[in-house]
Symmetry: C2
Subunit: 339 residues, 2 copies
């Protein structure tokens, strides 16, 4: 007898902030693989802010989910059935799977995972999509040079925490914005940030930047948008680079949000602002993975995951992203690895 398979479906498009009504957990039989496919027992599931965009019915970079669709996301897990010569039962893999106990994945679309290099959840964070996003976004769009001041919003998140550390490895002064003292302490005490600003307890972000970034801002890596970003834009140095990676402050907005116009601020510093999607760097993922793994192995790159227990709590883990519940990468533990 096959195991059952719990799977989360997209039940309802949210208006504004998503809630539990958007998600529907159903139980079916464990799926069977077609030729070339694997059945992966999901150990960890990734929830990410960009998924909010897939809940809209408008075309964007990520294909929108239709109501009734199975929810998808990055997973890491163990091959329990293989119809591919590329992977054997017992291998660990990562790739785009489903919010489920078991996920059928095409062997061509997954990457091998070595649990001896790093814990499994790290493959959804520092060694996964968020780590690669940080790597290419900072290095290719931000183009930091030694001595630059790099400011990161969402600095204690999966992407931001890696951005700041890579900037430190590149000889920069690094300032992070994060939403709790626990987070800012982690940034300065463990990750080596030069300064960190708790945006929830700070009134005047410009004044805070005057102190934390006295020489102005050369690179801004933006995961957040909103008033933090408004403040940083007033401090851009000549030839400043802004990587727009995320705008989580605005993902739940139903109307186009208003804010201070920024284009007039770009002329005097000749600043460059660029939107960023990691998928554009697919041909260079190998380079990023190798360097990130090396830094992790050397202890140059710290990482942390916030683990929510149980597939049944996956929606809560996702919703927690918008409340800033996570430190480092937010993941869901779906099952314990057998190894």
């Amino acid at each position: 007898m096959r195991d059952t398979n719990r799977t989360w479906y997209f039940a309802e498009r949210p208006t504004g902030e998503p809630d539990a009504d958007c998600f529907d957990l159903r139980e079916t039989d464990r799926p069977e693989p077609n030729p070339g496919e694997l059945v992966v027992r999901v150990n960890y599931l990734s929830v990410d802010p960009y998924m909010r965009g897939r809940m809209r019915d408008t075309e964007s970079y990520a294909e929108p989910w239709d109501v009734g669709d199975v929810l998808k996301g990055g997973v890491v897990g163990e091959v329990v059935e293989s119809e591919s010569e590329q992977y054997d039962v017992g291998d660990f893999v990562t790739g785009e799977g489903t919010w489920a106990d078991y996920s059928v994945m095409d062997a061509d679309d997954v990457a091998p995972v070595d649990p001896t290099v790093a814990d499994l959840p790290a493959y959804l964070g520092v060694l996964g999509m968020p780590g690669r996003t940080a790597y290419f976004g900072l290095l290719d769009v931000g183009e930091p040079t030694p001595g630059d001041t790099v400011v990161v919003s969402g600095a204690a998140g999966a992407v931001g925490s890696v951005v700041g550390q890579i900037a430190k490895l590149n000889g920069c002064r690094v300032v992070g914005f994060a939403g709790s003292d626990e987070k800012t302490d982690w940034l300065t005490d463990d990750l080596g940030f030069d300064a960190a600003i708790n945006y929830k307890t700070t009134d005047d972000y410009r004044a805070a930047l005057d102190e934390a970034a006295p020489d102005g801002v050369d690179v801004y890596f933006d995961n957040v948008g909103g008033p933090i970003t408004d403040a940083v834009f007033t401090k851009l140095n000549l030839d400043a680079r802004v990587a727009v990676c995320g705008q989580i402050a605005h993902y739940n907005d139903e109307e186009v949000p208003m804010g201070p116009r920024k284009l007039p601020m770009l002329i005097a510093p000749r600043a460059k602002v660029q939107g960023l999607l990691v998928g554009d760097y697919a041909t260079r993922f190998g380079e990023a993975s190798e360097r990130l793994a090396t830094w992790v192995a050397r202890g140059d790159l710290e990482h942390r995951e916030t683990v929510v227990e149980g597939l049944e709590n996956a929606p809560d883990a996702f919703l927690g992203l918008f409340a800033g519940d996570n430190i480092g990468k937010q993941v869901v533990r779906v099952s314990t690895p057998s190894a």
Copy 2:
């Protein structure tokens, strides 16, 4: 006996829109040159939107004017006294001079003008700073490729009219925003723009762009800001480039203007937005001047100047920029060339 010299001084910092009270005309003796200097009889004076920034007391890319300072600007005129071996009396030169009948200029800071290549006012427009701004802004920041759709705001202005024509020379579809039917007719009938939108008589800029730029926007050259720019940002294609050259809609704002937040719009198209100052390309001015002059000589690049008569009317010419009075380059005729 030396001639007298009328000179405009900066009398008062404006709040909001500048007016006549900001300017003060005084009469002094015609100046005398020191070694290395020329006295230039000003034939044409340039008034430009960026001068509004010099009227603020905040540091920006152009040094602020202090109350009581002589007003400065681009001039073209005839050398009437020379203490330099580089120029003889009777030569025509262009450079940064003063709002005056006679301007003392350092011979090292002026460029020769050949009145047989183009009329003198063209050296303040298509063959001057605005032409070079268009050239580098479009080609280096906008990076147009054949088949791209290029949208230009302030399209009938000194910079915009050149941008659109260079884009046509590069095989692009070109759409301009301008503020009168006379201007839009000039763009489409004389300059070869594919479409032009009169923003003063059009209600829905997005709908107008749906028609004029049905394939979306690959390059946006922005001289204006405000609602035109808001509309264009909703139509940016993948890898779109935005050159922020000017934001004349906002130059008279006393507070940071509010508008739709644009950073969230940059992620899906991975758009690049970059501030632009022509001074950064100083080492390549020769290249630009040569190509612009060649295009003008061939008839590939049309140009037009709006001429206000008389130095006494220079403030009106400047203020008219904000009302959109000019078609092509706004200049002031200060004296008739003797040649």
